[in-house]
């Protein structure tokens, strides 16, 4: 059961599902600055005071201190905190401070502890700084590829950023895929060292380049397959053509263009997707199938203009250029809207133009009203 399902099993709160509805200045702080770097990379095990006040009372904050800093000076962390001694303990401010420290990019963990004393509460911000990358090794890349791969990755001396590293690994994989490799495997290993450092090893197994062995469109009845294939972006035969490499990113763009083509030919329910990309067992060939569900052709049942019209509805309809009975075309409608907007601008009238469409799925018709306002 999903997380939602398990929570919902507890019974309804006053917040019901909105599915139906949907269907229808505080203290000045400083950004953390890592300069000057501390000479020691060992985390501080004794707390450094950030602020101290007397007479805070049992509920107030008597002292704010920092623990665990190593490379970044304590003053930099302390300067970023809004929580100050002498104030009442404010959970929201503490939450904001923790987020601020996290957002600095220098820390991998933050926790806050509270210790009661006769003078008031002592709040300790305990940080764990990110380790620094001592060495980053790349294995498995061809000599020609190595400089490009290295350029995509963190460098020795950088702080280890797990999120960034993951994005970099994904970019390395995508880089290989853009050059036709399938079954790209990129693995990585992080080895912790003394002194807050790590070694990072990246292992790449690019796999062979796969060439397109076939490209077909399935489900076509109203359009012609050849007409659709002509719309496939092949980069002048460099990719997504028989005998060329497969570029998934470019094919995704093509799918959007094919969808737009159907929208311009009245088939507003059409769905175009990658039906299959079948790799041969040796990974050297790939057969591509584009799957199409066309649906009915919609016609315009009514076309109207309303609102702040510069020269009345007949002129608006003339400029719009689409008429009752026409096959619906999104591109034609948008071109017409541009013409109407140009006139409206010239005449100093409303230029906020909203096309409102009412779709009759049973009759396969669309009613279009152009709403013009200032």
């Amino acid at each position: 059961m999903s997380a939602r399902g398990r929570l919902a099993a507890l019974g309804p709160f006053v917040t019901p599902s909105l599915a139906l509805l949907v269907a229808c200045g505080g203290a000045a702080t400083k950004p953390i600055d890592a300069r000057p770097a501390a000479s020691s990379a060992s985390p501080a095990l004794a707390a450094t005071p950030c602020s101290t006040a007397e007479g805070g009372g049992p509920g107030g904050v008597a002292r704010v201190e920092l623990l665990g800093h190593a490379r970044v000076p304590a003053a930099s962390y302390c300067g970023a905190l809004r929580t100050r001694a002498g104030q009442p303990l404010d959970e929201a401010e503490i939450r904001r401070d923790v987020r601020e420290l996290w957002a600095s990019g220098f820390v991998d963990d933050v926790q806050v502890t509270k210790t009661p004393t006769p003078a008031g509460q002592v709040l300790t911000f305990v940080v764990r700084e990110r380790p620094r990358i001592r060495a980053l090794a790349v294995r498995g890349a061809e000599a020609d590829d190595a400089p490009r791969v290295r350029g995509l990755l963190a460098q020795s001396g950088d702080l280890l950023d797990p999120v960034g590293l993951r994005a970099q690994i994904a970019e390395v994989r995508a880089d290989y895929e853009r050059r036709g490799h399938r079954k790209v495997d990129v693995d990585w290993k992080i080895t912790p060292l003394a002194g807050g450092e790590v070694d990072v090893a990246i292992e790449i197994a690019p796999g062979p380049k796969a060439l397109v062995s076939a490209l077909r469109v399935e489900g076509v009845s109203k359009a012609r397959e050849a007409e659709l294939l002509a719309l496939v972006d092949t980069g002048q035969g460099k990719f997504n053509a028989v005998g060329a490499i497969y570029r998934e990113d470019r094919l995704e763009r093509t799918l959007l263009e094919l969808n737009a083509w159907y929208f311009d030919h009245g088939m507003i329910e059409a769905q175009v997707s990658l039906g299959a990309a079948t790799l041969s067992p040796d990974g050297a060939q790939i057969a591509l199938t584009i799957a199409v569900t066309e649906g009915p052709v919609y016609h315009l049942a009514e076309v109207k203009c309303r609102g702040d019209l510069a020269e009345g509805e007949p002129r608006c309809l003339e400029l719009l250029g689409v008429r009752k009975g026409d096959v619906f075309s999104r591109a034609a409608m948008l071109r017409g809207i541009d013409r109407v907007r140009e006139l409206q601008q010239k005449k100093g009238r409303g230029t906020v133009i909203t096309p409102e469409t009412t779709i009759d799925q049973a009759g396969h018709t669309v009613k279009l009203t152009l709403d013009v306002s200032r």
Binding site: V14, G68, R128
Partner: protein
């Protein structure tokens, strides 16, 4: 002395190895770094900490605690004393998972520039109040009695509205012949599509649960 948690029950639940919240398989700085000694050196009660990392964002202990509060209230009212601990553990496990999903969803909504306007939340409150034959203040009061402040209640609505928008924009186009499906089939297909979409988001996002 080692740090002690402010909310023993909640922290114990989070620390439990039976939470079922597997950490990401990706290596993390925390797993790679030598054992932290500063945290061990700290004394006092832990009042705030990171319980999960989702991409560049974190989920904090107090956020999880605030979200759990109304559920704990309900459990206290409706679950036998000897079963409460297990029920609360299940709530924390499910809530943290839900909060991770929400963060993934929010990040995707930001990427797609989808948002929820205050006026949309106002309209949702008005519609819900009308549907229950009460005024918006009375609705907020009912929420308060269930452990949710007005702000938390509105935030919950915002999440649901955003979820609905994402459903319409992302999930619905993924469902073949959506228009021809019955309401029950639509709901089932939307649920499947949502699950698949969240798995995709999770696979490409750094997610780490910190017990």
């Amino acid at each position: 002395m080692r740090a002690r948690p402010l909310i023993p029950a909640l922290a114990a639940l989070l620390a439990s190895s039976s939470t079922g919240l597997a950490a990401t398989t990706a290596p993390s700085a925390s797993s790679a770094a030598p054992a932290p000694t500063a945290a061990a050196a700290a004394t006092g009660v832990v009042i705030e900490r990171v319980v999960a990392v989702v991409g560049r964002e974190v989920i904090l202990l107090t956020e999880l605690r605030d979200r759990a509060r109304p559920y704990f209230t309900r459990i206290a009212q409706s679950v036998a004393a000897d079963k409460r601990a297990e029920a609360e553990r299940e709530v924390v496990r499910a809530l943290l998972e839900q909060m991770i999903e929400e963060q993934l969803t929010r990040a995707e909504a930001d990427r797609l520039r989808l948002g929820v306007a205050t006026s949309e939340i106002d309209a949702a409150v008005a519609a819900l109040a009308q549907g229950q034959g009460v005024t918006p203040p009375q609705l907020y009061e009912a929420a308060r009695k269930q452990g949710m402040s007005k702000e938390e209640y509105r935030e919950e609505l915002r999440r649901q509205l955003l979820d609905g928008k994402l459903g319409q924009q992302i999930l619905r186009p993924r469902i073949k012949d959506y228009a021809a499906l019955s309401d029950a089939d639509r709901a089932a297909k939307m649920g499947e599509a949502r699950g698949a979409w969240l798995r995709e988001l999770r696979a490409k996002t750094y997610v780490e649960v910190r017990p």
